[in-house]
Symmetry: D2
Subunit: 349 residues, 4 copies
Amino acid sequence: MGHNSFGTAYTVTTFGESHGPALGVIIDGVEPGFKIDEGAIQKEMDRRRPGANPTGTERNEIDKLTILSGTYEGFTTGTPIAMILYSTNQRSADYSHLEHVYRPGHADWTFAQKYGIRDIRGGGRSSGRETSARVAAGALAKQLLAKRGITIKAGTVQVGEVIARERHWDETDNPLSCPDRKAAQSMVALIEQVRNEKDSIGGIIECRVEGVRPGLGEPVFGKLEALLSHAVMSIGAVKGIQFGDGFACASMRGSQFNDQRTSDGFLSNHAGGILGGISSGQEIVLQAAIKPTASIGKPQQTVTKNNETTTLKIEGRHDPCICSRAVVVIESMVAITLLDLYYTAFGKA
Amino acid sequence: MGHNSFGTAYTVTTFGESHGPALGVIIDGVEPGFKIDEGAIQKEMDRRRPGANPTGTERNEIDKLTILSGTYEGFTTGTPIAMILYSTNQRSADYSHLEHVYRPGHADWTFAQKYGIRDIRGGGRSSGRETSARVAAGALAKQLLAKRGITIKAGTVQVGEVIARERHWDETDNPLSCPDRKAAQSMVALIEQVRNEKDSIGGIIECRVEGVRPGLGEPVFGKLEALLSHAVMSIGAVKGIQFGDGFACASMRGSQFNDQRTSDGFLSNHAGGILGGISSGQEIVLQAAIKPTASIGKPQQTVTKNNETTTLKIEGRHDPCICSRAVVVIESMVAITLLDLYYTAFGKA
Amino acid sequence: MGHNSFGTAYTVTTFGESHGPALGVIIDGVEPGFKIDEGAIQKEMDRRRPGANPTGTERNEIDKLTILSGTYEGFTTGTPIAMILYSTNQRSADYSHLEHVYRPGHADWTFAQKYGIRDIRGGGRSSGRETSARVAAGALAKQLLAKRGITIKAGTVQVGEVIARERHWDETDNPLSCPDRKAAQSMVALIEQVRNEKDSIGGIIECRVEGVRPGLGEPVFGKLEALLSHAVMSIGAVKGIQFGDGFACASMRGSQFNDQRTSDGFLSNHAGGILGGISSGQEIVLQAAIKPTASIGKPQQTVTKNNETTTLKIEGRHDPCICSRAVVVIESMVAITLLDLYYTAFGKA
Amino acid sequence: MGHNSFGTAYTVTTFGESHGPALGVIIDGVEPGFKIDEGAIQKEMDRRRPGANPTGTERNEIDKLTILSGTYEGFTTGTPIAMILYSTNQRSADYSHLEHVYRPGHADWTFAQKYGIRDIRGGGRSSGRETSARVAAGALAKQLLAKRGITIKAGTVQVGEVIARERHWDETDNPLSCPDRKAAQSMVALIEQVRNEKDSIGGIIECRVEGVRPGLGEPVFGKLEALLSHAVMSIGAVKGIQFGDGFACASMRGSQFNDQRTSDGFLSNHAGGILGGISSGQEIVLQAAIKPTASIGKPQQTVTKNNETTTLKIEGRHDPCICSRAVVVIESMVAITLLDLYYTAFGKA
């Protein structure tokens, strides 16, 4: 299977370049007879959309989704669902100045090395815009998981030095979906400051999953952490992932880290809801490190196609912090992975 | 494909339980005509072996490898290579006291939930002993990568509060393969102290890969970080992974994190050698968080099969810190992943 | 991977229902830097199109292909190629009379049993129209194989009792692509007679591949015959496949069937160009049995949704013999399989 | 996944060379809690074993199976089952005379071309002995299918010119498992005659499956015929496969071929139990063409490694007709395929 596909039972295949005529996703393996809520999918698309959010880019694109196959009278039929986003605004001319130079922190150079050819229009296939296709597939997966009692919720818990100390998951109605209202305000202010400095900034996103029953995850290479890591680390901006106490476990004792248990249940959740690669029935908790956006207005050294040193300032409207938009992409990849495993372990009924 | 397999071009399938008659690995896709160095594979097995190392368990097992297929007069033929480890010391009686109780931090409970049946002998398939099969496959992968100019080196860089500040990768001849001799001594002392307290402790392992040419990694779901994360997170003790600056990028600016470049090459390596999911030709750098060993001698609360609260002290010789043995397992999973991608991207010649 | 995908290195995923808004194909793994000949792909589409051919249905559909991704300035980029066919003529009303009845010989009943829901519009996903997406992927594969010196040519060699005795592969410019002109005329006449009888008829298609170098095919489950059989038998109308002498080998002696060899090469080709599942460098020869079209105007007994016996005459314009259109579908599936194996065995360069 | 594996939910991986130290199979995905009948597996092994049967070779090998993993107290645990056959009789010296010559009809030449290296000991991996690993996996699959009410039965229906006219599936207790007693006697006599002529002969094997419920098979590339064809055509001796009326459909009318239906059920089974690639609930019927054994004692022209023409007589005890032993191999591949699809479509419960 090609690497533009993910999953074995709920198989997601994405296609399309940033500034090509269309982006889309084919989903193979969806259970038949499910009434899709198209409005809810569109709402998820809007969460990822640039311009929807004051911390993001100022561009205003419309990610209007069209379903081309796999449904009959609004219900899934068991055949592949194709969802497509036509580009309303191809502006390919905008990028001609990048034809001969590699942007630092971008995939420009590695794509050129790998393929010997590079679609310079907005990053082509390496653009963050590719994730819109994942959000479409993730939004449908969420609906199918909700039917099974599972909810997925992510939010930004760190931007630069600002760290969320609280976890109020019913109070994430802020641009960063941050579960700490005060921290959210500071994050927004910091991002504005960084934008004015023509710079960008990183962050951490936390994702929590409730309602997963024990038994999800396949030993030994299909451990739940392994598959979730594969999924989340396939998002371009992510540079690290951890479960439960994660890297903090390095300085813990076994007597602290082990989740003890009584007949009333587990006494703690240091493991993040996964034991031996299999869900324990506790909440699944993971965090992803988000790197600073690569496109910045500050001057940077780089090389041309002929390997001459040059200085580049990237003009245009770019997100100074991608966290606000990455939240829904992480939720989507988690949803796709969990549904895929649900189908494998427990069937589609 | 079942989840006891990993890789698409260099496909590794492991089988066997901790205390069954044998453990083994089948490797499909190995290039023909390669002279296997069996002695070098056995040396890698010995690095993982309990008892080989003062920081590990005191048990003394012999992981003697036998090759059953795939070679002719010492050369690979292109057919599947089966390598097997027969158990010399099955001691299944040792574990009968665990039949009715779930060990905290172990996969006992989740395996029972998932399968409705549990092989209580030493953890069965969830035992760390399963990783010996991975080391065999990884040791062969390393030889095939060495032929391509690639070297993989891992070492412990943190145990508890002790952090390695130096990186002397030619001075890792210590029980933890730590690249900082002084830190290594403190780590060993700390582990001894923890052992005496009948407790265990976690750590961090760093892995570096030199010689990977640009172009390795497959957009979009097969990004190099995604596949390496899948591989490394499938090791039972690992709870987090990060590349380059990893989680530290959360508090960095883009102008700090971006790796600028001149005609002489990159000026830094914050990205850990991977851009857009594709190798850049720089050194690949990753770190994995290792949790404290679950088996400890201290009393812990847990439940019986009938969900009655009980207290358990785990007797016997157990590793207080798994880092010393996990080093070679991480190297192995990295080697398997890289060779698999090499075969896919550049062929077997 | 879902079963709407085929191939591991040149991976083809199709979607779309007969009378939905669009049908399409995503191809993952195409080598970068190849100049696609879109006109040649369209010509292949036209070979499969109904109405293009006097022996086929009289409907006149246009299969106009649009490429949505994977190319830049006409060259492939190494990213997934999406090709789409929009339906110009959805006529979903035509099929309402089939809502409560299962057509004999069709997938109506089995789809309903499998999925509990059925897209009645023209067979939905089980329609022969799905093969148009395969032809698009196959047409591109043919171009990529031609670059490697490989040509694929199929033709009808039997319709009913009319059997082609000659093999003039440069004289197949007849409605059935039959390599025997005289037989072709008789076949056309027989099909017309069958059409007038409101009946349909089966046939045999032969496919020959020249230029495949020795070494293609992967032991043991990926034998060349096994993968080609998988590919060709996945076409709805095919009920049998054979290689070289095929079923005739049942009454042959080893001394007749074995292809002997001198220093000048093989003396015969009873094996059809494949030994031990691997191409021998000889011409690859296979035949596929094509069943009579299921939709006929004659009255047939069948059941309603409530399992009441009823009689059905299928009205409308249907192909009395599908061979003329299946020729290019078989060529396409052969091309997809061979290119997939070429990529795996010999790389994409 | 490598091509030494087959299946996605019940995944079978075989390894081992004809005259290596061992052959084996790893089965991943077996449902937990099933009591394996080892004696019944051994009986199936014995059906394939040379020397068990007067029509086969006179060699007397013992295929004694050992289970190395995946069971606990006789029950499956859900972890991979490894079954191994140690070679008791390696006789590698016997084959040295073949080092410099390619046997006609064998994979000798194509293996050498593909891999540049060839294990000359008894054909190495291309030997029919590899199928013993499939029979082990198939025997277990049969037990798991029997639990679901499914029975698989194959028998020889043609050898040379001798054709079985009867189908008494309860009277197959003859060396060829032929469902026609009289024909069986003629077949045995014919094979003896061919043996005396130092020649070999082909045949046809028919396989019937009862008890498959409607809904098995996955559109579009995973059609039941496509997957069964892949499975059966991966057996070295098979050169053709057909379902139901198969190639005979070429000269049939739709009004003859379509299986009509009343409220009492189908009136015929020309389609062989499969419609649109999905099981209809009728008996599944397929036939496979078996080529004459390649190893014959008659002189044949061939070439040496240096491409010099030479004449070869293959000495030793070889099967003049492989049908008697191929019957259980075909049953096994059908069983593996069906169980794999059952797991995918209906789960493991």
